[in-house]
Amino acid sequence: MAYTNKLHVIYGDGALGVAGDDFHYIFSYERGGLESMKIKGKEWLYRVPTPTFWRATTDNDRGNGFNIRSAQWVGADLFQKCVNIDLTVGDHHFDELPVAPRTNDFMGDEEADGVVISYTFETLTSPATHATVSYEVQVDGQIKVGVHYTGKDGLPELPVFGLRLIMPTEATGFTYEGLSGETYPDRMAGVTHGTFAIKGLPVAKYLVPQENGMHMATDWVEITRDTTQNNADHDRTPFKLKVAKDDQPINFSCLPYTAEELENATHLEELPLARRTVLVIAGAVRGVGGIDSWGADVEQKYHIAADKDIEFSFIMNAK
């Protein structure tokens, strides 16, 4: 592809391609999100990123019944119902998605200064509410991801609200600039600030696998892999993806497991063999608590109310 300072936009019949010099993204209309994020020839997504509403129950959550009170968020986390896709290419907002046969009108050389596509999900809760994930692709390949949760009366408190990205293979490690160690809103006093290189994707060895590995107030995280699932890719040179804060620091965890995989295990060795990378960028994180493990709740200011909006943003493929 010739050098251009604009994005190349490919109007597919079921997806929108957005490409540049060293990146190629596919936004699926069928799958409800960013289906492919190929950077320098390497794929970074296993499935489309989805809003996440659950964390694996901690011992304190179990002790105070939080998991029971908030159980419907498990379903909302596991199953996603995309109810709307909204697309703007350059200055043009599509009132209807450009699908066949309208796609026959394009020429194949479309370019744009930017693309914004957002996916709205209806939560499988009662009552239902919405979460919207919007991707704003810039000409240099950076994607500003905005995530919005619409508060709703009558819903139980949230354990977490974020966006979950699952990568096709296990990372060899990650580096981040932020706070030392594992941190939560009610457990971040003892930290040092700096840049930390983590080898592999360590899972804290709690006897019963549970929520772990959160890193609050992070400026950026860079994930390194050296394998892909592409059978024709024989290169094992490490490659990286940087995710950075937008206007506010981000919270993240980077583990080989989803919340549900952790939830299902009663011992570490029951967890599946590590084969993927699960990156959660969290806009709101519930505290872990600590007074006791048989009833005491997390301190009130570290709860996440479900009746208030939550909004956060970050940069993927940050330069």
Binding site: N60, E182, R187, A189, L207, G287, G290, I291, V298, E299
Partner: protein, 649 residues
Amino acid sequence: MDADIKWLDDPETFRVNQLPAHSDHHYYGNYAEWAAGASRFTQSLDGQWQFKFAQTPQERLHGFYALDQDTTDFDSITVPSEIEMNDYAQNNYINTLIPWEGKIYRRPAYALSADDTQAGSFSTGSDNTVGMYRKTFDLDPALRGKAVRVRFEGVERAMYLWLNGHFIGYAEDSFTPSEFDLTPYIQDEGNVMAVEVFKHSTASWIEDQDMFRFSGIFRSVSLLTQPVTHVEDMTIRPVVADNFKDARFNLSLKLAGERAGSVHIMVKDADGNGLLDQSLPVTTAVDLEDVDFHDVHLWDNHDPYLYQLLVEIRDESGKLLEVVPYRFGFRRIEINDDHVVLLNGKRLIINGVNRHEWDDHRGRAITMADMTKDIATFKENNINAVRTCHYPDQISWYYLCDQNGIYMMAENNLESHATWQKMGAIEPSYNVPGSVPQWKDVVVDRARSNYETFKNHTAILFWSLGNESFAGDNLVAMNQFYKEHDDSRLTHYEGVCHTHDYSKQIPSLDPKGYLPAGGTKDYRDQISDVESWMYLPPKQVEEYLKNNPDKPFMECEYMHDMGNSDGGMGSYIELLDKYPQYFGGFIWDFIDQAIAVKDPISGKEVMRYGGDFDDRHSDYEFSGDGLMFADRTPKPAMQEVRYYYGLHK
């Protein structure tokens, strides 16, 4: 006297022919032995013993201790170790309920009525596994021809001892040393020692700690002899003067053996400068009273300065018979008129942890390496205090705490949780020890053993009567024992809070949550120098502190560190800045109790917790509340603890 298995059923029989508890001082034949840490007077019996196991008392091998017993079908077991960890008996982790919950109906003897002896309760108990140990040994040459005793440092939970076919004695109290005189039956060579270890006895009711329930000879066994004149017991009592510069030194020695020769007492500072050098004739008791020391170097967490006491026993010709070294510090703990706890005149703040003895491969048969690692972890993370939950620890741990300035709450081996708390409710209808007369001596004996063994350890600031045993006249008697014997430390007991109405002091607490239905006698004025709670939320701690606290306040357990936890610790720590009567607490707890096993599916070494051994009833992962994982790596929360405990160092 013959052994009687019915002792297992009788709370009034808990020591038979046991030698009186005494101070834990080491003694050597000369200075070279001390330097080498090898006393001519001791012989270790640790190592391989012959072993036979029985599921019940009825199935045990009667007369297994006889010299002519055929032992060809005996196995071999390592002493010290846990029988369960050797896979003879099932591992079981259980917290507050009693291990036979849902399996056997029992009540503690005399708890419901004065004539309810519960005969046969344990001696015929179908859950009462038996370990039969035999050890054949020759006396080391240095021990021959002398009086010889044996010391068991820890045996869970009741043990009978024979030597060369003769019954020697019986002991309970799993966590304090038990010594017996072997002299009448010992021979130079070919001795056969036999120990019968029962998992349960009446002691099980008062050793209902939140832990894996093990049995066996899980601490070291040694033979000891004494020189012809010997320091049998020693009480060092350093008293810091009101100016916190000067001090008075008191020393009381109980001597055994020949009353001839001299006792040479020396005290040196850490640079070797002599502060005291005095010789006295040997009599049965030697006392030094109120020796004035000036400008002493005080001991505390930051500067655990120890002085060296040396006691030499010399015969009439001046020949050295025995040297007893002991390092001690000068420190003073007190409660002032404002109900603030002071150490050396300054406010004391406890940045503490509760610490079970635990090793993921050895259970409670921990090693010196475990202990030194734990001390290093304390130092790295600003942990300045330890509660020996809920039993006395190995003797070496107390020396390490002296040397490293770790404040100790030295707890008795007492917990009777199952007898007074049921499904969360305070229901002491068959509580022991309570005020049941037949349960008094056994618990006072535990207080005595704890005191006599560890009384010289500078690190001990608090004697703790026990854990979660409700309260009653027998707890009062334990408190009194300490008050009568030791004015240099404070007493601690949390359980008494369940007898007092706090509606004025902590108005937001619902009395239903901490008081028994129908009320109870209030023991608050008779038990514990300090107000101690566990897991009281910060807001209610503050209520107590705002309402004219008449006892200093602490949490003997707080910040329950089960799994991913330790959030919100700052709410406790900030109370330290607001209320001088608050003096901190002990995090629950230091290390996960989990057992490393080889997973048959993956072949990897993995951690197992309660219930993983098909053990029921169990409290499952509740065994994992440590700041450390069971393999002694820190949990992520440790950095938070290091920070908050660093704020009031």
